[in-house]
Every structure is written in C-alpha cells, then in structure tokens.
C-alpha cells in the first residue's frame, strides 16, 4: 500500500522537526499508542493498540530513522508485530519545507500488512491508514500549532470547570492531568 500526501502546519520547521522526533509527542499523537521510548539514534520502541476491521491487536514495534538531514528530511522504517493478528511494516520518506504559514510536511509511505490483518482487513487497510494519518496530524497540529485566543479561553474555562468539579468531589486538583491542551509542545519548548 502506498500513501503520498502533504500537510501544512502552522509552526516553524525546527518546531515541527523536534516535535516529530520526540517520543512523548508521538506517544500523544499516534492513535492507540500505549508507550513510546527511545532515541533518534537507536530508534524508538513502541506499543500501539489498534483495531483494523474485525481484528484487534496490540502491536509491539521498532521504528528506526535514517538519512537524517536535520530540519529538512528523514526516512523512517518500522515494523509492528501483533501476534496471531499479523503484522504491519513499512517505511516513509518525510521532508520538511518552510512555507509562509509555517512548514509543509510531505510524506511518501509504503506499507504492507500480513497475517490475519491482511486476510480479513485488506479491503479496509487503505482507509484505515488514511484515518490513522488524519488523526495523527490532527493531534500533532494541536500539539505544535499556537492556540488562538478563543481556544485558550475555552481551554481555561474547561480547566476551571473541571477543577471546580473535582474540588466539589473532594479530589486533589492536579494542574496537568495529562490531557494536553492545544500548543502544549510549543509552550513546553518555550515557543
């Protein structure tokens, strides 16, 4: 299966670059990701729980990076094993191009699936992959793009309401409950 697309992200290339190579960002952005650890040099170890058509599986996989040109381009290869559900593997060539609005991220993905996923889910693998990519980028954009005034206000209101509710229930109020708000990565790196 091949998938080629590009996304315009309202953040500078260096922000997008460092975010996409940050295991914590990937953990937050990959749908169903249970854990993501490692470094760019050694590659990442990931656990992702997903449902492809009728097949549910927890994939454990390894992702490695090559042809790394900082801020510009890199290649990603990875393989996830889902036990008797089968496997998914593939690679992507990604480029980062500065544009007036921020960064144009272009990717060419070549992936294949095997075992039960291929047997039962082949007809929906394409649409599944597209949905995964859409979800990933929606979350990724949330993480790296600056929030608008309205969004910040709405987020603050929601936080206040949640805190009030928690207080009313006698729970300890935690500042960051793990629900990252828009632009969290940008704020984290001081952007």
């Amino acid at each position: 299966m091949k998938l080629s697309d590009s996304r315009d992200i309202a953040a500078a290339p260096e922000v997008v670059w460092s975010a996409i190579l940050d295991p914590e960002v990937l953990h937050q952005c990959i749908p169903g990701c249970q854990s993501m650890t490692g470094t760019v040099e050694d590659g990442f170890e990931a656990v992702v729980k997903q449902k492809v058509g009728p097949v549910s599986a927890t994939f454990t996989g390894h992702v490695s990076f090559s042809d790394v040109v900082p801020g510009q381009s890199l290649s990603i290869t990875g393989e996830g094993k889902g036990g008797v559900a089968g496997f998914a593997k593939g690679g992507a060539a990604v480029t980062f191009e500065p544009i007036p609005e921020g960064t144009r991220l272009t990717y060419d993905v070549d992936a294949s699936v095997g075992g039960k996923i291929a047997q039962l889910g082949s007809r929906i693998v394409d649409s599944f992959t597209k949905k995964m990519a859409d979800e990933f980028f929606a979350r990724f954009q949330d993480a790296v793009e600056p929030a608008t005034e309205e969004e910040l206000a709405a987020a603050a209101a929601a936080e206040a309401a949640a805190a009030a509710e928690a207080e009313a229930l006698g729970e300890e109020v935690v500042a960051d409950s793990g629900d990252h708000k828009k632009g969290w990565f940008r704020r984290m790196i001081g952007g």
Partner: protein, 791 residues
C-alpha cells in the same frame, strides 16, 4: 418391485431428518473426558527462513500442557503424497519434504509453525501469542511462470527448481500433433486461466486424537471423506502405527468437495500429542484458518490450440498448462492436472490427435489439490471455450460445430487418443434434450425483448464428459498411484431379516444411507427401511478407499451388489434345503423364495432365521450365518456426459451478468434416486456458476491471501442463481458395472463454467462488442465492463 423404496424411486433422504433438526453428530460434537485443546500458530509470511521458535514463555502460561514445534516431530515421517507422476523424459517428479510442522523454512501464509496444547482453547490461543518466532523473510514465488525462471527463489531448497514435473501426454504424439497443425486449414488459439478456488465446505475441519494407554490403541476422529485412507497414510507413513492399533472415525461430515480427501498435518499432530500427553487432544479449524490451510482447487494457466480442416473437422488439440501445486504436494495433487485432466482432453469429440503438456509448479501459496471435478473441469473449460471461439472465428453455429465432431453412438466403445476408452454414450441425444428443455428455438424472441430493455442477452452451451467411478487399480498403479482404488462392502443379514451394510464409501452429503438401501431393497425385495447403511469407522467397515471422483455408487455400490449377490446365492441354498428342491429351481422375488413353477415358497425371514438358528440346515455343506464381504475393482472408468445451456443477460452499463436460465441434460446411466441426483446436480451447478461469476482466490504481491474471508471471497448465494432445469432421462447405462450407473456428483461443477462464459461472450458479441472474445473467470461486473470499454 417396491418402487416406493427401490431403484428409481425418489425416496426422501433419511439422513436429512437428523441434519435438518440439529441431530447430526459431527466431529466437533465429539468431546472426550479430559480432552485438551490444540491451537496452531501459523506463518503470517509467505516465505522465510525459520530461525528460531521461542516457546518458553508460552509453555509457562496458565493451562498450557505442551508447546510442540518441528523438533518434537523429528522422529516421525512427513506428510506423504499419494501419487507419483513420471515426467515426459521418464524421470519421476520432484517430491519435497512435507514436515508436520514447519522445519527450517515457512513456505506459505498459514504454514503451521507450532501447536499449543492447553486445558482450554482460550488458554492455547493466548499462549500462542506469547510464542516468539524469528523469521528472516525471503522473496516469495507466486507467479508460476516467474517461478520457473533461472534464479527464481526456490520454495524447496533441496529441489533443483520449482518445477515438480514437466508432463507430456501422449508424448509419442508430440510430433504428429505439430505436423497436423502445420497442415491444418484453421488454427485457433486461446489463452485462459482456470481461477483458483477455495472449497469452503459448511463444516470446517476438526480432528480429535485419543489414546488408550493400556492397549496402545489410537483413535482419530476427523472430518474426512475417506477414513481408511487417512489410517493408511498417517499410520504407515507419518506415525508408524499398525492398522490394528489405529482407528479412524469420520462421523457425520458437513461437505468436503475434495478438500477433506487429504491427510493433513493437524490430524497427525493431535494423534501424536494424544499419545505423548496421555490425554485426548482436540483441534477445531476456524473459518479464517480454513482459508489458509485447506487444500485449494484449480489454478491452471493454459494455452490451448485447436486445428481444424477446411470442413471444420477437428484435427488436433495441443495444450500447454502451468498447474499450481502450492507450497507442498497435497495427497493427490500431482494426479489432478495430469491423469484426471489430460485423459479428458478428447471431450465428446473424435479429435484424432492430442498432445497435452503440463508443468506443475511449486509456489509460496496454499497447496492445491482436487476440488469437485478435479482436472476434468479444467479440461472441459479449455475445450468448450475454444470450440466456441472456433465457431465464432469460422462463422458457424457452435452447436453445429459440436454436433459435427461428436463421437457417434455407433462408435462405442470408443478409444480416445488420450488412453481412455469410453464404453457408451449418446451426445446428440443430450444436445437434443438440452435444446428442447431450454427452448432454444425461442431465444431470438427473448433476445429482442432484452434489447428493448437495453440489455444484452446471450446463450451459451457446453458439452462435457468426465471419467468417474475411479478407478481400475492396475491401471492407476501404472500411472503412479500409490494406492488401489477398489471399494468394499460387508452385507450383514441379521437373524430376523434386517440388513446392516458396512461400506468403505463415505457419505458427507451424498445420501448413501438412502440410495444404497434402495439398491438392497430392490435386489432382495424387502422394504428399504429394513436396511441400515454404516460408514465412516475403520473399526467396523472393510478397507475402502472412500468417496470422491463420483465413485461411490459406481464402485462402492457395485461392491455392495457383489456382496448381496453372494448373500442371495447362499440364501437360495438354504431355501432349496428347506423347500426340498434343487437350488437351480429357487427364484427370489419380492422377498420370497419360490420353487419355480410351484406355489411352494419361503419368506426372506424364514431363510435368515434358519441361517442363524440352524436346526434344520445343511450344516455339512453350508456354514451358518448370512454375512458376506466383497471387494470390487472396476474394469474401466465410467463416463457421464451431458449438455449444459446457460442464458444470461448482461447490463452493458455496469457489466453485471444475470443468469436467467440454466438447463442441464445429463446422461448418468441408470439412476437409483432421481431426487438425490437432482440435488447433486443443483449443488454442482451452484459451485460451477460460483467459479464462473464470483469466486476467486487472490494473493497479493507478498503472498498474503486477500480473499481470506467471506467478505472478499464471493460465494454464490441464492439470488445469484436461477431455478434450474435438470434432466437425466437420456440414459446409456454403463456397460461394465452391475448397476449400469455412471456417477453424478461432479457433473454440475464440470459442465457449467464454460456454459456461463460462453453465454456472456455470446451476449457481448450479439450486442455489438465484437472485440470481446474472451474474459477470464470470474466474469465479474468489473471485468465485463472493462472488456466492453477497453477497445
């Protein structure tokens, strides 16, 4: 004669009462106290080096009793192949090892790597998740022609190539055929594919192994069409168990269509594990698993050539076929594209010269073996498609071209140029019957009616012949069979006159319990309800070869007739004694023994009682009891034949094909139960139409099965099929078996695919799409639409 229950009566199938009320006893219904459950971890890649299988974590999981890998089977044999084909250079085929569990390499998606045995199925399945398999993937070989190229990756490293054999038939005719083509007025060529099919019986495979420690007795309950064959293959070649210590039981079996003929690894694995663990072990195949582990069917790629003289007489046929064997040789795989295919290439026609070349190829796909028709549908499809193409190219009527070249009734017995001798037949008669029943004369009017609605109407015809009632043992022995193909029966007459027949044939939907009883009823003249048919258990039936190749009534039924004749002869001796008459004067009619020309008689029960209570009995010259066994080895194949007609409508906007009518005029020889025969034809037609319009087994470029469920593998449904017109009134009885029967189980699946495709091409041609001369099966809307629009 009791026509209500004898030969020729449409007796309702007695077995249907239990099948339709949920009372059948299938293998999965068998649960033995203390039974464990097996789950097979299968390869999810098509080709790879199996570096390591780490089972320690799985073995430590709750409920797991043992995890088996190839190493556990090091001391036992591999899965054997039952047929050795010799190639056209006189060399025997390349025969790879077929380990019970993958050893060193995995060769197709679905190849079993490990078997987990646990207290529950869920525990076994969970533990399989914990097995860590290290595979170095290798490039898979999928395309048959690529597989034969120099430097292609090899499925089996120990073989010199992926070529199983290069078979020529009749090799001596090769030159003469080439000459005939050189001098021929017309030379027609057609390249086609016979699409790969998945059998999909309603009941998936199941195997339960049991072992009795104190006696050393093994029992295997399995979904098999031939329990004795499984006992022989597994006992002698895989596990080394003598027949006396191995019982194989195939109880009610929910369809097979060929896929349950073969000895499968799972059967050996559970039998082996039951002994080692001293507990019964059960494996039930899931539907998903069946798609990648049941032997599949067809998958031939053929170049077909027909030479005709200026008067349109067939001069010669030449074919070159690539036949896919898959990754391993399934039990009868080598025989299907050769002896069950090349020998049928004459069809119903008097073509004097035929040369068939078949290259059997190993690929990284699920093994391929017999599927309803097995080789004969492939032969019929080629022949009936090219005759249609020839008629079109020569501008003659396809029906007349067939009639011109038919073998005529006065030519029987007819020696074909491809070894077999047809004993009897009348092909003009079945063609006449077909045209009458299908109202061929009214087609032109119906065509106009379709045109008015913007639809393309077409009529397609196919005539077929098959070699059934397999097979003469001495002949198949010369052809490479590693078994005899006789059949057996024991007829046990009980003291009060009822009869129990133990047959080596196996019913998995054919209705033997009803039709076999009708034969006995007819012969003795007692009610068929008095006759019980027992099959499927090696511990009580005589050694028989099982059911496939439309052989049960022709071969198994003949064995039963032979044993019953022995019974009747002995009963006459007893009657002669009781009636104080000469044996030669005793007549049996309607269950009564009468002294000819007198009113002195004894009933059937008088005789059977005397046999078991021999107070007044010629003990000095006759043994008491009334039980006889017979083995019957046929002297020839039987040759059912028929004419099939298909009328379709094609929607030129969508390419959708609708079958409006389907007519089958068959000559099955004598018919014992017309209702059962009609049902068999209906089922065969559904499968043949399924192949022609819907079914297709597809692997992707990595060898992953894409059509791996009923979402993607399109089985025919009721609304895909028309109401059939089925006729079997054209009868030329088989000349060499006592019943004069020929067999009807596969005919529908053999004759229908070319009839459907011929009809579709006819519709497109009549509709002005004259550039479309062939579309490969399945003739799906997408393919038809593309054919119409790709000028």
């Amino acid at each position: 004669m009791p026509k209500d229950g004898g030969i020729g009566a449409s007796v309702k199938r007695r077995e249907d009462v239990r099948f339709l009320t949920g009372k059948g006893r299938y293998t999965d219904d068998i649960n033995i106290r203390g039974q464990l459950y097996a789950f097979f971890l299968r390869s999810d890649v098509a080709h790879g080096k199996l570096k390591a299988v780490h089972t320690a974590a799985a073995a430590a999981m709750p409920g797991v009793v043992q995890v088996f890998t190839a190493a556990d089977f090091a001391a036992v044999g591999g899965i054997p192949c039952g047929w050795q084909v010799t190639d056209r250079f006189g060399k025997v085929m390349q025969e790879p090892k077929h380990p019970v569990l993958a050893d060193g390499k995995v060769r197709h998606v679905g190849d079993p790597i490990a078997m987990v045995v646990a207290e529950t199925l869920d525990q076994a399945r969970d533990a399989a998740e914990a097995i860590d398999v290290e595979i170095d993937e290798l490039p898979p070989v999928l395309n048959m022609k690529d597989a034969l190229k120099d430097g292609a990756p090899k499925v089996h490293d120990e073989l010199t190539s992926n070529l199983c054999y290069d078979w020529g038939f009749v090799e001596e005719n090769r030159e003469a055929v080439a000459k005939a083509f050189e001098g021929a007025a017309h030379h027609i060529t057609l390249e086609l594919r016979n699409n790969r099919l998945i059998a999909n019986p309603m009941e998936p495979r199941v195997a339960v192994g049991d072992y009795e420690d104190h006696s050393g007795m093994h029992t295997l309950y399995t979904t098999s069409q031939n329990p004795h064959v499984i006992r022989l293959l597994m006992g002698a070649f895989v596990l080394g168990i003598p027949e006396s210590k191995l019982r194989v039981v195939a109880p009610d079996v929910g369809g097979g269509f060929g896929s349950k003929i073969y000895h499968y690894a799972e059967e050996a694995a559970v039998t082996f594990a039951a002994k080692m663990l001293k507990r019964p072990v059960k494996w039930t195949c899931s539907r998903s698993e069946a798609f990648i582990s049941d032997a599949q069917g067809r998958d031939h790629l053929t170049k077909m050539e027909l030479a005709l003289d200026k008067d349109h007489n067939f001069l010669a046929i030449r074919t070159e076929t690539h036949a896919n064997m898959g990754a391993y040789l399934s039990t009868f795989a080598p025989s299907i594209p050769t002896w069950l295919h090349g020998t049928l290439m004459a069809g119903n026609y008097k073509t004097p010269l035929i040369y068939v070349n078949v290259k059997a190829v190993f690929t990284n796909t699920v093994p391929v073996d017999a599927y309803r028709g097995a080789g004969r549908p492939e032969a019929t499809y080629q022949l009936e498609r090219i005759i249609d193409l020839a008629a079109r190219q020569l501008g003659v009527d396809p029906i007349e071209l067939r009639r011109k070249n038919f073998i005529t009734p006065d030519q029987f017995p007819y020696q074909t140029p491809v070894a077999v001798v047809y004993d009897t037949g009348n092909y003009q008669a079945t063609m006449d019957k077909l045209l009458e029943l299908s109202d061929h004369a009214g087609f032109a009017k119906r065509l106009e009616e379709s045109k008015k609605r913007g639809k393309l109407r077409g009529f397609g015809i196919a005539h077929y012949i098959e070699a059934c009632g397999i097979a003469p043992s001495n002949l198949v022995g010369q052809l490479g069979a590693r078994a005899g193909l006789y059949e057996s029966a024991t007829v046990r007459v009980n003291a009060t006159g009822s009869i129990t027949v133990f047959t080596g044939s196996h019913s998995h939907g054919q209705g033997h319990e009803t039709s076999f009883a009708q034969v006995i009823s007819e012969m003795i003249g007692i009610d068929s309800a008095q006759v019980e048919i027992v099959h499927g258990d090696t511990s009580n039936t005589p050694m028989g070869m099982g059911t496939y190749g439309s052989r049960s009534l022709a071969v198994g039924g003949s064995a039963m007739v032979k044993a019953t004749n022995k019974i009747i002869n002995k009963a006459k001796k007893i009657a002669a004694h009781l009636l104080e008459a000469s044996e030669a004067d005793i007549e049996l009619k309607d269950g009564k023994f009468t002294v000819a020309g007198t009113d002195k008689s004894k009933t059937w029960v008088d005789i059977t009682l005397a046999a078991y209570v021999p107070h007044n009995y010629p003990l000095e010259s006759l043994e008491p009891g009334l039980e006889e066994t017979a083995f019957y080895d046929p002297s020839n194949f039987t040759y059912p034949a028929g004419a099939y007609g298909c009328e379709v409508e094609v929607d030129p906007e969508t390419g959708k094909v609708t079958i409006l009518a389907f007519t089958a005029a068959d000559d099955f020889g004598n018919v014992v139960n017309p209702m059962i025969v009609e049902g068999q034809v209906h089922g065969g037609l559904a499968q043949g139409i399924g192949q022609a319009l819907l079914e297709n087994c597809v692997f992707d470029e990595n060898g992953q099965l894409l059509s791996g469920s009923f979402m993607d593998y399109a089985m025919p449904r009721a609304d895909d099929l028309p109401f059939y017109k089925v006729d079997h009134s054209c009868v030329t009885p088989c000349t060499h078996n006592p019943l004069g029967v020929k067999g009807c189980g596969e005919a529908g699946a053999i004759g229908s695919p070319p009839a459907v495709v011929n009809a579709v091409i006819d519709a497109l041609q009549r509709g002005g799409h004259t550039h479309v001369t062939h579309i490969d099966m399945p003739v799906s809307p997408a393919r038809v639409w593309a054919a119409i629009n790709n000028r």
